[in-house]
Amino acid sequence: MLSRTFLTTFSVWIAFLGTSCNSGVSQTGSGSNSDLPGVCSTDGARSLEAQPSPLRTATATADPYAYFVTDVSPKVIQSRCIGCHISGGVAQATPLVYLPSDTPGNEGSNYNLLVNYIGAEPIRAKVMLEKAQGVNHGGGPVLNSNSEEFRILQTFLKAIGGQVDESSQSDFWEGVELASAEQTLRRAALIVARRLPTEAELLSVSTGEDADLRKALHGLMQGEGFHEFLIDGANDRLHLEAFDNGLFLEAADLNGTPLFPLGAKKYFEAGNKQDGWPEWMNDWMRGMAFSPLELIAYIVEHDRSYQEVVTADYMMVNPVMDEILRSGTGLREEHSHRTYRPGRNRGQVLPDDQLKSEFIQDFGNRIESHGSFIDYPHAGVLSTHAFLNRYPTTETNRNRARSRWTYYHFLGVDIEKSATRTTNPVALADTNNPTLRNPACTVCHELLDPVAGAFQNYGNSGLYRDSWGGQDALPETYKHPEWFEENAAPSLYVYGDTWFRDMRAPGFNCEQAPDPSNSLQWLGQRIARDTRFATAAVKFWWPAVMGEEAKTAPEAREDAGFEVELATFNEQNRFIENLGKHFASGIDGGKAYNAKDLFVEMLMSPWFRADSSTVAGNSASRASGLGTRRLLTPEELEAKSRALLGWRWGEDDSPDPWDYDEVWTQLGNRFQIYYGGIDSNGIKERSRALTSLMSNVAEKQAVEMACPAVVLDFNRPDGERLLFDGIDRNTTPTSEVDKVFTVTAGSEEEHTTHTLSGELETGGKLIRISFLNDWYDADEGDRNLHVFSVTAKASSGEVILFTDRDNRTDGSVTFTCSNDQNGLSLWCDDGYISIPLAIQEAGSYTVEVKAWGEQAGPDAVEMSVGVESTDPTSGATQGELAIKNKLIELHEKFLGESLRLGDEELDYSYQLLIETWKDRASQENGRNSAWNWPNEDCRFYSNSHWEEGGPARQANDPHHMLYTWTSMLIYLMTDFYYLHE
């Protein structure tokens, strides 16, 4: 049954966008406007918490006004609505503008406002409740439909005559069944750890207890795969890999800027760069680009407070960054460029009068002198050069993009969607500093601009105080407009300012940043303390875990599926808010802001685990984007195939210096975009469903990997194989018993006897002998197998069959070198000797084969001897049983599908195997190999595979099972379940 650990009713913390504020007090030294009206009280933000009511709760229907006073006003109007719906607030243009609680008569006035508003059109009650949930509401969601406050408002609106929809959310998950603990662990391992779970891990969750599953999930969060999950997940939001896909990281440009003197010197001394920059520059540029992603990964992997994402007083540096930034982490040149350690940036200087450098074309900057290295003010990701440069600013944008994305990533607020969209062209055309004065603009800019101001020290590309003189990052066009236009209006700039005086002061949530020199650090601290930070973290990681963006409230009631979307949004929003609270305080008694704990709860939730529904038409079963079987990303699919087969599609022996990870792969490079991946530059949204082209990528992966995977695996010793332990290449659907022998005798006189024993059922059988390792060299000789005689005996010792080259049993066949032969010699490894054998009574039997070989080459002759049934679908052969058991294993490994003997899906797979096997046996196959060169190809990824004795040269397939298993792997690797976890 559905676990509801986190589905209990919870009062919802409100992502309250309407913290309508204006920085009313000038910030010393930062510039900024100080005389504009605003609604922030001078002592800070308006309280958003519900005020305790001194009155007893009244009954809404009996006395709506009393109910309004006791419940609605304190718990809804004054706590949830007043921030925006107030004179001077961002919702002042709406019909619902309330009096605040400190205004005498507010309760009566507000009550009458609502009674009249609803009385005029009772349907407004329904719209009002939807807006409270976020539907087409400028303030976004402020009440969850399961919350007490929502119920209070609904009850009241109904009591005053409003039309309300009282359908309940409580049955959202009714009938939904979760994936089992084992299935959940498997999916989580593939997605979060990029590997399959171990047997021990699977065993540990077999109890079905949530506690055991939580522990096992936690155990996944380590190692290379988890690191990749963190890097990819963070990049999917921050898109910093754009700097590795064509976008230039100007903030780290050692050619153009002398502000990293050690780097500029190193670059300059590398000589003329007409033919390209030195190799270490790639490590520097990529290191600077990936540093924020590595920071997030470091924080999570080391169980540090997730708040450090915006507060860390360090950054992550690789060896060359360590050298240039003087971080002193102990990293040396011999360390990989992908080794990162936490360190500080102590290698940056200001463009002040002590900095003297000369730019020489093709060489870079020759540094003559520079001032002191700055104590770089780190603020986690926010102060990293890549983050700042990903959202470059301009003289007119003034850090607003940085602010907008800071809100989005770290506070979960999409400002562009949060505010009522202005439709008044006059307002939109306002040129009188509209962002500060025009309500149509201030609706967003009241939030946006103070945070933009907090980025005041970072210039257009993200360099610290990069204006000439190193005092600030303000553009000269603002400070000295007269330099650019003779009749320009005088600047508001005053020497020492670090921010624009015609903008709101740097700050956050109605609080001003106290010190211009570290306002971004201050902002990071404030964001980390904001309750929205925790829920934003859940939303930040939602796509990486769930394969879908977190829901936003549907915007138009007339849209198809509106009700389901709204219900889903409400349920998900409630979950996220609730989980955010726990994350902030410590999940299940754990450390506060521990991201691993957060991931575990996300993986435990029905949003990840919902697997089926026994109730048709419930909200959860109709909601898009939840539960199992989401499309794997190219990175996830590549990792899954690697976990199963042992290598990445397309990789080879040679490191690729052009790739950050030095491994070129088909899914990671060539087909990444075609398989719905992103380049983080122009293409930033992943495809979440397969198209024809994408299905071709999946199929191509399967056909190119399956053949070498099968050949390589069967060449590993039994017990060390990835897929085919316990079965060998000679086990066919008709196999009863079989065994491989090494024939060392080198002449007929020395022939040796090789005995096969086993249990046989009654019926027609075939003894089948194959030569497995033909070899020929013009100088060294020819290796061949000669069978002297074959004897079959019952357990009593009775001989039931004898044959030799002079006394062939009727119906026996010797097929070799593409021809039927008369004797019992096999010259090529394409053939076999088959001898009919009738078993009258079930029991133990032995087959003795006397043989010798013409020995040549490094190995002795190898021979397989088996007894086969003549009916591959009798259900009675050991081969069929072994193959079906292997198919069960493969279905489990590749598809996460648990089958048992007798299951329909197993029978279908077996039927495909039989058809393939029979078809292959009927084809001409000159070499009797896993692939028939030159018509067929099998692409091995390592040159060593082709070396003498290598697996590519051990691909004999006398029983056609290598070929057949290859087809089965293609079938599995293109299955819906393989591509969707």
Binding site: T422, E485, S909, P934, S967
Partner: protein, 433 residues
């Protein structure tokens, strides 16, 4: 037996071999799509139409609206006015008969996100698909590349899925997954797997899909993803034909450095789109180019951008003509919104909600025409929807009006798919007569 012949035979064999409820991989081979074609060219960032198709000159006492108007006057090509800027003359002189220019479209926002959403879906609320998605879903839902998106707005509303085309050589290697290489020594094609085996695997896979889809316990995500995969497989066999149409590696058009900050791969987008149209595998495409958000150095950047745009429009029609598909194409060109009717302190222009759309068809009866009005300060004016003349009692033109008219013009107006995304209480503008 030739590879193509073999494929055809195996496909035909499959027809008799399968009787499934849902997927139809072995159903009748898809005929190449031969109906109308739709392309949008999304110039992202907010273009300055006052230097393009809604030319404005400086007014006494007002901030300068265009620098070019200090020395030049508005020009005319046919009935169209255009700014003597960049390569507009070449563009409008050559193509004005193809063009319907709709000026004064009020995007009702200065936000890029909303502007893109509004202009390309017709609504400033999430949920509506792009016009191209609707078009493809109605006209050629089964074609494997029916809807191609090169970036920009490509929301589908769940009615179809878009394909992305990237490197040509990579694409070529993808069209027939089992194909390995051509063996010049043996003068034959080499495969990773026999095609008969692939067909058998595909048959079993399709049968498994059918069984999965019959499960009444499926969640919406599972069902949607299953259907997507089944659809993808149903039409994928036709992809192999695309190799006959995509350009040789040596013929692939190179990217263009538009100006120092902006590089464009529009030539390749156009080349691939026309190739896909010619193959009959596609019906709609979104071309995408950026760089128009010129808050600084506006004129220089727009000069290069509009010059590039003119060249690309010409390239598009030239390729379409050569491919024999020009008569079937409707090309819609637009942006997020416009740019302010004055320069800022950095010689840039900021966001302005009023913009334009250009609809092009070869020798269209409604071509060589301008609809919509703006005043000299580039403010939108109300017009009467039927006469398209200025009318104080008329209405401003919003993206929904353009979309509603385009839907009707493209034959989508009363279709089942479009009815799921209605423009209620929206006037009908007679843009197309």
């Amino acid at each position: 037996m030739k590879r193509r012949e073999f494929l055809t035979r195996t496909m035909l064999l499959g027809v008799a071999g399968l009787g499934l409820r849902v997927p139809r991989l072995y159903g009748a081979p898809l005929s190449p799509y031969s109906g109308r074609l739709l392309v949008t060219l999304q110039a992202e960032g907010g273009w300055d139409v006052t230097s393009f198709c809604d030319p404005k000159v400086n007014q006494p006492g007002e901030p300068e609206i265009t620098n070019w108007s200090k020395s030049k006057e508005i020009r005319t090509a046919g009935n169209l006015k255009y700014a003597p800027f960049a390569k507009n003359t070449e563009l409008f002189e050559k193509y004005h008969r193809y063009m319907l220019v709709i000026n004064g479209i009020d995007a009702q926002t200065n936000s890029h996100t909303t502007g893109v959403l509004h202009n390309w879906s017709g609504r400033n609320a999430e949920g509506f698909p792009s016009l191209t998605a609707l078009f493809a879903a109605h006209n050629a839902p089964k074609q494997p590349l029916s809807y191609i998106n090169f970036g920009g707005f490509g929301q589908t509303g769940g009615v179809i899925r878009f394909s992305r085309l990237d490197d040509v050589n990579t694409l070529r290697g993808l069209l027939e997954p089992a194909y390995s290489h051509f063996d010049t020594w043996g003068n034959q094609d080499v495969y990773h797997r026999r095609l008969s085996d692939m067909e058998r695997i595909r048959k079993y896979r399709q049968e498994r899909f059918a069984r999965m889809l019959e499960d009444p316990r499926l969640l919406a995500r599972q069902q949607a993803n299953l259907e997507a995969y089944a659809d993808a497989l149903e039409s994928k066999s036709a992809l192999v034909h695309f190799s006959d149409y995509i350009p040789a590696e040596s013929d692939v058009l190179e990217d263009v450095q538009v100006h120092e900050r902006h590089r464009s791969n529009l030539p390749r987008q156009i080349q691939m789109t026309i190739a896909a149209f010619r193959s009959g595998l596609a019906s709609a495409a979104d071309l995408y180019t950026g760089g128009y958000d010129t808050h600084t150095d506006h004129d220089n950047q727009h000069q290069a951008l509009f010059g590039h745009l003119a060249e690309m429009i010409d390239l598009f029609w030239t390729h379409a003509e050569e491919a024999g598909v020009a008569d079937r194409i409707t090309l819609v060109i637009g942006s997020d919104f416009g740019r302010t009717p004055q320069y800022n302190a950095d010689d840039g222009k900021d966001h302005w909600p009023i913009g334009s759309v250009i609809v092009m068809e070869r020798n269209a009866a409604w071509g060589n025409r301008v609809a919509g009005l703006t005043d000299e300060g580039h403010n939108a004016l109300k017009v009467q929807p039927t006469t398209l003349k200025q009318d104080r009692n008329g209405t401003l033109i919003y993206p929904k009006h353009v979309h509603k008219a385009l839907r009707r013009h493209l034959g989508l107006g009363s279709t089942t798919i479009a009815s799921g995304f209605p423009f209620n209480n929206t006037e009908d503008f007679a843009f197309f007569g």
